[in-house]
């Protein structure tokens, strides 16, 4: 392994050590922010996997919401250990993804984008309109995670850190696996990939399902952590927007990009929400437009550009 490789691993270990250590120094509020950052690391990383196969989802809120509702309703019905809920949340989100997959993964990317958006809205309306099952627009309350309180927050942080770690690890391994070559082939030229014996639909559904699974799991975590969910909150279109803008800011097609984007934008978003209050999303819009024009490869692309030039 090259020196650069060792340097990379070392810096990753330092980062991980740092993340494991911070609960002991952070205030409750900062820890809450770090938990949100980790939630978005999962969403952004999962969303980015789709881009590898040239698919755009504008509806990742659907998977987040499905995960959250599955976990909340399961827990309230049977009080299983929460890890079951989280996995079930992921499984149900994946089922949703397979449904979309069967319906429309053969469509052009733009049509898929609209279909996913419609899917998220459709699921939201189902949740609102079936109060017998979901308690409708009122939302669902769940017992706080690990009994609530200060130590519970630390545990919650470690739990979501573990989920985020697994998601990023999955993305990393996926990127180094043979699958990634199939993904890239589909991304570059679907027809050609098909002729070489790569079944685009199979791989697209695979990427979509994987992506949805992790978002569903973290949706389940969010429901337990926040201990109250409602359809307009967890199926919010802004979750789908964040899912796109974070990888774009960090750098599409990379593993580090969505993580970097999630850190910066979650913290920036929280800062803006508190200071600007009304209409703070305007800043997001401006960032999005500027990124498309001046930094389509994201921050990671920028840094790689620098190091290569040296």
């Amino acid at each position: 392994m090259s020196n650069k490789g060792y340097a990379k691993i070392l810096s990753l270990l330092i980062l991980l050590g740092f993340l494991l250590f911070i609960p002991s120094v952070l205030s409750q509020y900062s820890l809450h922010l770090m938990i949100l950052v980790m939630v978005f690391v999962v969403i952004a990383t999962s969303w980015n996997i789709l881009v590898w196969t040239h698919q755009i989802s504008l509806g990742h809120a659907a998977f987040f919401g499905i995960g959250a509702y599955t976990a909340a309703l399961m827990y309230n019905a049977w009080q299983l250990p929460i890890y079951f809920d989280l996995v079930l949340g992921g499984v149900f989100a994946s089922l949703g993804a397979i449904l979309i997959g069967v319906i429309c993964l053969r469509m052009a990317p733009w049509a898929l984008a609209i279909a996913t958006l419609a899917f998220a809205e459709a699921v939201k309306i189902l949740v609102i309109m079936l109060p017998g099952l979901t308690e409708g627009a009122e939302g669902v309350a769940i017992a706080p995670l690990y009994g609530g309180g200060e130590t519970a927050k630390v545990y919650a942080y470690y739990l979501v850190l573990a989920i985020a770690f697994l998601t990023v690890l999955m993305a990393y391994l996926l990127k180094r696996s043979k699958l990634y070559y199939a993904f890239t082939a589909i991304h570059d030229d679907q027809e050609a990939a098909n002729m070489l014996g790569i079944n685009p639909t199979k791989y697209k559904v695979m990427a979509f399902t994987t992506s949805a699974f992790f978002v569903g799991v973290v949706g389940g975590f969010y429901a337990h952590y926040i201990s109250y969910i409602d359809p307009h909150g967890v199926f919010n279109i802004h979750i789908s927007v964040e899912a796109q803008i974070m990888p774009l800011m960090g750098g599409l097609y990379t593993v580090a990009g969505p993580v970097v984007g999630a850190f910066i934008l979650t913290l920036l978003g929280e800062y803006l929400r508190i200071t600007v209050k009304t209409g703070y999303l305007i800043i997001y819009g401006i960032i999005l437009v500027l990124l498309i024009f001046y930094l389509p490869k994201g921050l990671v692309g920028l840094v790689e550009g620098w190091t290569r030039r040296k």
Binding site: I114, A122, M129, V289
Partner: protein
């Protein structure tokens, strides 16, 4: 089933469909020419509706006078958006274009939120309360006028597409961009004009919305989702398809609202259901132009 009620439900559906067609026709025109998923289109409606609202409440200007003004303003707006934002990324991946128009939506929506607050506002014109009676059927004058405006503008656009030089260029580019370019069609000009005209239609939709319902900063998102459903339903790029799709959606919503328990809640989801069903049975829409 009561026949009079049924007739009323059908009439309501057709009137709503007319409003939808104003928005969907512009969207499908833009898509046909440029193959761009234009989320900004919903915001042309938002701007048009606030323009009408403020002209009326501040200066007492009737929506009928605001209509040509809104068409002009939103035409210019569309031209500017195309020229400065869409054109530079016209050859970039779909992905970048979608995110770009999404970014513009966030900017416009939140600008409106900052300037006008998130409150719903509506206005009362002298004819708001007047309704016409046709046998057992009642039609609000404002809604009927909105429908007539929609029909007139759509017919005008269709005639322009059939008869004028520009219209022929638009259809040529819609069918085959490369070939049109080789035949000497100035594609840039066609793009800019199509975007302007499409946005103007959206603006007119805004004038009608503020006449018959209300407006608020996020109204664009409400309509753009439906408009996309309609455009997919009718086939991307097809004007006739957009009109038929609008009527289908308007009628279905009206029927669901009246004949299902809790209908108005379900009606909100009908467009998405139709969208998904159409994508399954006919992925390219009912009137797809190759």
């Amino acid at each position: 089933m009561d026949l009079a009620t049924f007739a009323q439900v059908i009439v309501n559906g057709i009137l709503t469909g007319g409003l939808y067609s104003l928005i969907a026709v512009g969207l499908t025109l833009i898509f046909g020419v440029m193959r761009v998923i234009n989320f900004v289109h919903g915001e042309t409606l938002m701007i048009g509706s606030y323009l009408t609202y403020f002209l009326f409440t501040l200066y007492g200007i009737d929506p009928f006078i605001s209509l040509p003004l809104a068409i002009f303003v939103l035409f210019s707006f569309g031209v500017a958006i195309q020229r400065f934002f869409i054109n530079p990324v016209i050859d970039a991946p779909h992905f970048n274009q979608i995110l770009l128009t999404f970014g513009l939506v966030l900017i416009l929506q939140n600008l409106a939120l900052i300037l006008f607050t998130g409150n719903y506002v509506s206005m009362t014109t002298g004819y708001s309360a007047i309704s016409l009676k046709l046998g057992p059927i009642r039609m609000g004058l404002a809604r009927l006028t909105g429908f007539v405006i929609a029909i007139v503008l759509t017919v005008l656009l269709s005639v322009a597409l059939k008869k004028t030089e520009w219209g022929k260029s638009v259809r040529a580019v819609t069918q085959d961009r490369e070939a049109a370019m080789l035949m000497g069609v100035n594609v840039d000009r066609v793009n800019i004009l199509a975007f302007g005209v499409g946005s103007a239609m959206g603006g007119a939709g805004g004038v009608v919305t503020s006449m018959i319902m209300y407006t608020f900063p996020l109204i664009g998102m409400l309509f753009i989702l439906k408009a996309f459903a309609i455009v997919v339903l009718g086939g991307f790029g097809s004007i006739a398809g957009a009109v038929v799709g609008s009527l289908i959606l308007g009628l279905t919503e009206s029927l669901v609202t009246n004949y299902l328990p809790n209908g108005s809640g379900w009606a909100e989801g009908v467009s998405f259901l139709i969208l998904i069903v159409i994508l399954v049975i006919r992925p390219k829409g009912l009137f797809y132009v190759e």
